[in-house]
């Protein structure tokens, strides 16, 4: 009936594997036919805590990668940081557990119709959706460079994966424990200046997304970012996850990052107003 989240379904998925990788858990869920409907940038909303849980809201996680395959259908990979009680519960679920998920949710990354030079920038677990995205872009003939950053080396997810899926990979850590010492945004200006970048795809902390937006503003580089706001519902019914976004006329709307995002055109986000009340609507 509706066009919002038109592939989304609620299913019970079995955990195929759950492995600690650095500071994260790599969790593989059997999702059957749903796999065919998931696109890079979509996310999944997961019920946490079991039957008698005091946690009443789902937790959102980027779909890191989809593997199609064997008899039992496709699988969905997640990269989960044990943060608070919900994500820690998920990371503690053993292989074989049944998990209640709703997926795929939200807007996916836009894929160019002609080959372009793409720069993928991930911060922390923000690298999650980039591996799957890189594969799709490469299959369309794009050149894919990847930058991954984090505060420390254990928070760089699977650097070897990165190497496999991108043409080049550079890693930055703030404490210098892996890759270059510094922030993942450091090389972006010169990459843009050298003309090596047509589109930037980014995912990570809001401050990183905003910093990249500052670097691309005034350039021809398109910047698609996957934002992260606290979400109560993940399906567009609660209005908790809003972000100030400008339309062509410059007027600002508070858009829901769960259904109008998480992937957004970074140049339309009014970054300076995030977490503030925009000026009153004039009508």
């Amino acid at each position: 009936m509706s066009t919002i989240n038109k592939s989304a379904t609620q299913i019970t998925a079995t955990i195929l594997s759950n492995k600690r990788v650095g500071a994260y858990h790599q969790i593989l869920l059997a999702i059957g036919d749903l796999a065919a409907l998931c696109r890079p940038g979509n996310f999944v909303a997961i019920a946490v805590g079991g039957d008698s849980s005091k946690m009443i809201l789902r937790r959102a996680f980027a779909i890191s990668r989809i593997t199609h395959g064997n008899a039992s259908g496709g699988a969905m990979e997640l990269i989960v940081a044990p943060h608070g009680s919900g994500s820690r519960w998920l990371c503690a679920q053993p292989e074989g557990s049944e998990i209640d998920i709703v997926a795929p949710l939200g807007k996916a990354f836009g894929i160019p119709t002609t080959p372009v030079n793409a720069l993928l920038v991930g911060g922390g677990y923000g690298s999650a959706p980039l591996f799957g995205l890189a594969e799709v872009l490469k299959s369309r003939g794009c050149r894919v460079d990847m930058l991954l950053g984090a505060s420390t080396g254990s928070k760089i997810y699977a650097p070897l994966e990165g190497k496999r899926s991108a043409s080049t990979l550079k890693i930055y850590t703030e404490d210098g424990s892996m890759g270059e010492h510094g922030r993942v945004t450091a090389p972006i200006s010169s990459l843009i200046a050298s003309g090596a970048v047509d589109v930037i795809y980014s995912c990570g902390p809001m401050s990183m997304l905003r910093a990249i937006s500052d670097l691309t503003s005034g350039t021809d580089v398109v910047h698609q970012c996957a934002v992260e706001e606290s979400m109560a519902c993940g399906i567009g019914i609660c209005m908790t996850c809003v972000l100030p976004v400008k339309d062509e006329s410059g007027s600002i709307s508070m858009l829901r990052s769960c259904i109008d995002g998480p992937v957004m055109d970074a140049s339309t986000v009014a970054w300076e107003l995030v977490g503030k009340t925009p000026p009153a609507v004039n009508s």
Partner: protein
Amino acid sequence: MSSAQTFDFTTSLAGAHFPTPIFTASGCASSGKELAQFFDLTQVGAIVTKSVMNKPRHGRPTPRMAETPSGMLNSIGLQGPGIDYFLANDVPWLLERGARVVVSIAGETIDEYAVLARKVRAVSGISAIEVNISCPNVENRGMVFACESDTAARAIDGVRKIIGGEIPIIAKLTPDVTDITAIASSVVNAGADALALINTVLGMVINLDTMRPHLGGKTGGLSGPAIRPVAVRAIYQVHSAMPHVPILGMGGVASGRDALELVLAGASGISIGTASFGDPMALPRVQRELQSLLIARGFTSFKDAIGYAHRSETGGAQ
């Protein structure tokens, strides 16, 4: 013993009829569209839309939510597109598809309620109007309308003058008052045909990292299973004081057993709010569960169960 085929699940609220007693809760279903992917909107009682104001509104700054034990706080601040856009776009979409629509309105002044009622009146096909008077009154130090009998009654009176008798007026009350039956009786006297009980309970969470109130709006409304006992109590008290005023009950309903509690306490219909956040299929599920529980208890009609907890120990269900 009745079965799902013969069981009469219909309900009515002051003359408006619904095929089932399960509704969305205002602000927990947006304009309805968003849930259409998950279930057939025509199969539930009605879609109660997000409270709409006269002008478009940005609402409160983020963060707008905090999860709490078996509940959550929200401070949305009535973000919305304004009544004109809403009536021109969202309502027709729902009506065309055959869903029943209860429009929720909210104002900052007594006048704004009347203006909203006039605009709603101009659109046909709407089943009822829910008047959310749990909003700050800008003309009276931001005191919530529903916190005082006098302002609560005046807001409802303004709506009644415009739309009274055409579609049922459901006054939605806050539980954050000393005596909810007093407020209830003043809005009924002012022309409310039914009552919606309860809106959220005022709460706050302090963020332990910033050591400041977590929500952008500082305080927020507590909803979810945590407040269910408060909802049951409010419905029971009001039904006991005014047994002939129909009540749309809400507050922490997440399963059929929860809905049944509110029905036995006196609710003629049940709105499901926060539960839809955790389970997009909550409405059809609760509806199914409620029906089985009623049938298992020997009821042949939903209406027989309304307010059953008030009957004397010796009265039977059947």
